[in-house]
Symmetry: C2
Subunit: 115 residues, 2 copies
């Protein structure tokens, strides 16, 4: 059986506090979940709702978002409202999936895990 996972890709280059980064990642995770068909969500949850957290820059986030969309993988790009730490419209995170693990890996490619 194919494993499903969700990838959450966050910026680490814009000096977000830990709390800010967590909140943006949660926006991404939930935002893309809401766009994912119920059958995919169910399979993912039955398998333990695996999530991986990766880091990328501004341009990468847009590319990942576009590539996911063109591959038919649900994707959600988070732009900050700029109320607290960042300029309005700053891209902070993108969530993709849940989808089949190989489809996610094809899109996230060489991105590094957040440690």
């Amino acid at each position: 059986m194919t494993d499903f996972k969700q990838a959450i890709i966050v910026r680490e280059d814009i000096g977000m506090s830990r709390g800010k980064m967590v909140a943006q990642a949660c926006h991404a995770s939930l935002g893309v979940y809401r766009k994912t068909p119920e059958t995919q969500r169910q399979r993912w949850e039955e398998q333990g709702a695996k999530k991986i957290v990766l880091e990328a820059g501004d341009t990468d986030l847009i590319e990942i978002h576009e590539q996911a969309k063109s591959n038919g993988v649900p994707s959600y790009l988070v732009q900050d409202a700029g109320m607290t730490e960042l300029e309005p419209g700053t891209k902070t995170a993108v969530g993709i999936g849940p989808a089949e693990e190989d489809k996610i890996d094809n899109i996230t490619g060489e991105l590094r895990l957040v440690e």
Copy 2:
């Protein structure tokens, strides 16, 4: 109109990596979202889906979870499967709400924001 928010409370005392902490917070955020009535979810989303990220210890997480439940606020306690960094069953995070801001504040009380 009452403001709605979601609180995500995470452990900072167990040496989780940043990526691990983000993943646990996303489990909490999504887990409690799924338990929240649709009307509350909609009001929260219309207001921008505000999320705050707080820190607490092991005992606090259980207390928060119990207090939320007894106050009728949706709550989801995350216990790690122990596959990577932690002992199986370690409580890592709790998500509460979305719910009215004052109800959330009553439960989270004096907890500090994650910075």
